[in-house]
Structures are given as C-alpha cells and as structure tokens.
Amino acid sequence: MTTTSQPAVAGSIADQPRFDCRNAYVETLADLAANDHRIVGVVNDSVGSSKLDAFKKAFPDRLINVGIAEQDMVGVAAGLANGGRIPFVSAASCFLTGRALEQIKADVAYSNRNVKLCGMSPGMAYGELGPTHHSIEDVAWLRAIDNMIIVVPADPIETAAAMRWAAATEGPAFIRVSRMSVPNVYEADYQFVAGKARTVRDGGDVTIISNGTVLWRSIAAAEQLASEGISARVISMPTVKPLDTDAVIAAAVQTKGIVTAEEATTAGGLGGAVAEAVVQHHPTRMRILGVPEFAPTGSAGFLLDRYGMSPAGIADAARALAMAG
C-alpha cells in the first residue's frame, strides 16, 4: 500500500492497482504533524478505523480521543482551534456529520474555526453494515452550511493534496476520506486547488462530472464510449462547495448534456450543486447518478453498480444524453 504515483492511465483505468485512501490520510497527517506542532488529531474512539495507531505512537499527546462522543468531539476541536491548534477530526463520516451536525454548523462553520473535519469511510463504504453506517447524506447536509468547504478526493494523491491544502489554509473544511480502494487518477505532483475542477479527459459530445470513488468509474465509462465513437469529457470536481461553476457552464455550453455521478445521495450533493448552476446559467439535459434510497444489503461496489455507477451504467447514462436531440 503506497501513496506514490502510479503511471498515468495505460490501458483501462479499471485495470490499475487500487489503494485505500486512509493510508494516504494517515501518512500525510503524520508528516504534517511532524512539521507543525499545531496539528492534532481528534477522534471518537476511531483510532483503529481511522488507522491512527502509528500516529498515536508518534504523537501520544496530540491524538485527542474523547471516546464515543461525537458532539463533544467537534466541540473539543473548536476549542482546540480557539487555543491555536489545527485539529484534524477523524471519524466515520456517518457519525461525524450526522451526530454532530449542529456543532459543525455553530462551533465550526458559524464560529469560523480552523477545524478540519475528515469524514472517514463515507458513502456506502461500510457496505453490508447498512444505511445506519452509510454516509450518503454528508455532502448534502454540509453543503447547506455557509462557510464550509467540501472536498471529495478521488484517490490517495488527491486525499494527501487536499489535506496539505487544508492544513495550510485557515478556516473550516470537510474532507471525505474513502475506504473503498480506488486506482490513482492523478499524477504524483498533482496540486489541489480549492474550488477548481480539472478536466481529466477531454471530449465534446457529452460531459461526466464526478468525484471520489466514482471518478475512475467515470473515466472507464468514457473509455468505453470512445470505443463506440462518442467523445465524453470527464470533469473531476473534488470541491463540491464552492463549486467551479465556470467549468460546469462551459460543459453545458460545449457538450450535449451533463451526467453527474457520485457515491452520495441524489438529493443535494454534487448533482444538486451542478444542477443549480446549470439551471441558472445555461439549462441543459442532465442525469444525476447517485444513491436515491436507503440501500439494501450489499458491498459498496455492488451497490454502486446497482445504482447505475458501474462504468457501463455511467456510459449508458452519458450515451443517452449524447444521442438525444
């Protein structure tokens, strides 16, 4: 397991080796902490699930474990920030965002505290454990909160880059740290820029906008469409808030339609954000792929496929838009 770069996509991205973003997370956090005494970890007993055992060994005083108490965890992080520390709160995203939503709103966002909320194992990462442990709502919930930057990295390289950006940037941020292994999409020297999209594959017929664990699936869909003669643009949109509306509007103007694809609810996530931009600036056809319901039993991969986010499923949605009108 490593965070170093893999060669740029050769053959299909689906055939590339895959990595758990949590490893990049813990390695980056330890590196940041070694170079900045202000960095601390804050957890809700989630030392193991956040893979923070080595961090705890290296910085025993700087891993604040409040026990299974998420409201206290986020309030404590706000208080640590009041004292000049830079807390990285590491907790399963479902509990972090669901249990402590009011603390995120009042203590972090509205109080403008320099707290980094790291939602571990988001989306449907907990698979068969079911909707209580799925965190498909986190992006939509936090997107409704002012003064919150939401980042959904697509691979270990982007996870590390987003953390370095967050550590260097004063203010609240939410970073989703995937558990389901993904291939590297980005080159090793990738620089994350908050609020900026990146076109990871150019195309003029139709656009797929994605992030997180679904980005590589979107790229694989575009590969498939290319073999059919359909040119699909794939836009990586790691920052859901603030959204890169220029990239969205350009896609709306230049291609026949936009598919959004994400490991999150179809209500109010990336798809909602893109739709809000499109409908106000340049209405176009859209398909919003995501999770529309409390998911039945199944692994995250199985469920993504079920909800039309296999490479073939995403290609189907994009093809329909490319062929229409």
Binding site: I64, V66, Q71, V76, A78, G79, G83, R85, P87
Partner: protein
Amino acid sequence: MTALAPEHATMPVLGRLSPYAMREEQIRHIAEAARQIRLQDLKLVHYAGAGHIGGDLSAIDVLATLYGAVLNVSPETVDDPERDRFFLSKGHVAGALYTTLAAFGFIAVDELATFLKPLSRLNGHPNRNKVPGIEANTGPLGHGLPIAVGHAISAKLDVSRRRTYVLVGDGELQEGSNWEAMMAASQYELDSLTVIVDRNRLQQGATVRETNDLDPLDQKAAAFGFSVVEVNGHDHGELLDVLSSAPFRPGKPTFVIAHTHKGHPISFMSNNVAWHHKVPDTDQLQRAIDELESPDHTAN
C-alpha cells in the same frame, strides 16, 4: 414604547481595579458594576422589545465578577493567545454579556443602543467574528462546555497557565453533550477548567425539577470527576473567592454550582418563570430601576 436609542445606552465604563486592590474594594467595585449592568440591560430589553431578562439577571453577578476581577483578559488583550478564556454557553443571555463587555471597555457603551437592530453586530446570540471579547458563537444549548474542554486541552498541550471558564445554565445541563464533555474533562485532568452553573432552577416554561430534574447535581458532577463547590451566585465575595481560587484539587476540573434566581433582585421578577423572555413595560422598567437605585438595594 419608544425604540432603543442612544439616550438609553449611557452606563458608565467601570473598568477594572488594580489587581492589588483590597478584597473589600474589589467586591464593592464588582457590586457597583453588576448594579450598573442590570440598570443598562433592563433598558436594552425594554426599549429593544426583546431579550432574555430573567436569565440575564441571574447571570450578571457571575459575569461582573469574572470580567471585573477574575479573568486575565482586557480590551487590549482580546487576541492574546495567553488570555484566559470565558465561554458563555447560555448564549441567549447575550444582552447581559454585551452590557458586561461595555462596562469593562471591550465594546463602546453607545453601541449597546444597536442591540437587536437590523444589521447590528449585537445579535440575539453572540458572534465571535463580529464582537471583541466573544470566544464562541453560542446559542444552541450544550455547546459551550465541549468547546471549553477543547480549549483547556490546548492549554495543557501548551503547558500554559491560562485558565478556561464556561457558564452554563442549569436547564441546559439536560443536553447530553455536557456530560460527554465532563467525562473528557475528567479523563484529561483539566484542572485549569472551571464550569459555572447558573443554578436558577427555572427553564423556559417551568422549573427544572418539574421538567427533567438535575438533583443531586453536586453528586452527579462529583461522580463525573469534578471538584464541586457551591456558592451564592449573587454574592460577589463568595464568587470572587471561589472563581479566583480554583482549582481546589490538583488534576480535577472545578464545578461551581452558583445558586441564583432568575430575575434577581427585582422583586416582581425574581424566581418568576414568567420572566424568561418577557419584556418589562414602561411601568415595570421604572419600578425595576427604582429598586436598583434605592438606598436599600444591596447587591446580594
């Protein structure tokens, strides 16, 4: 009723005495500050037509004691990393806090005339990004104590002598987040942390006992690892002695149960649940002012 206007915000700026002033002198100074803050705050609520006067009046003696003689923070040091921190968890008594901050020079007295007005930075709940001296944007209950615990942990990591105080309402302790934070305070042996409970025994519409009783609060706090002290929350001497002497046991956070009355010391408001957020009319305001200005008025 006329609207809140500059002529209604005229309290004197009292500032602080030298830390070397005699205890009796400090107590007299705090008492006068508390009296002036009450007079001013009653006018704010009356002329603004809104506020939480009952809880304001139960908390003012604690606020006046903290800012008047306990906290190591001044208008000049509001951004000093080594300042003491005070978190007002019961954020709905923002009017009392703004008036206290004005009394000690953190904000201008005449700005109090903007309380609750459109676009005023003196909102119904405090905003740290707008008002100097505010440490957290509180309002929803059960938030201040976890934040205070986090700050106290930061002070411990820094091996700093700065202290952390948080004022919570007693009804507010029904929020479970407080008890989560108290467990952490004990686990981390945060003896620089002092929790002050405004124990006025009333919540919005009924007594705490009738609603979801807290007693035996002293035993509960002790069982959560706190060193517990009970004081008359309107006695400036008791408050000064306790708040400036904490901690009482090394390694243990302090839990001060300040026994208070909502609406204190106004005869027709005191311990009357109706005054949670009732607004005094012109006659009631004058009667309250008369009581506070009467030679018979004693701070306690």
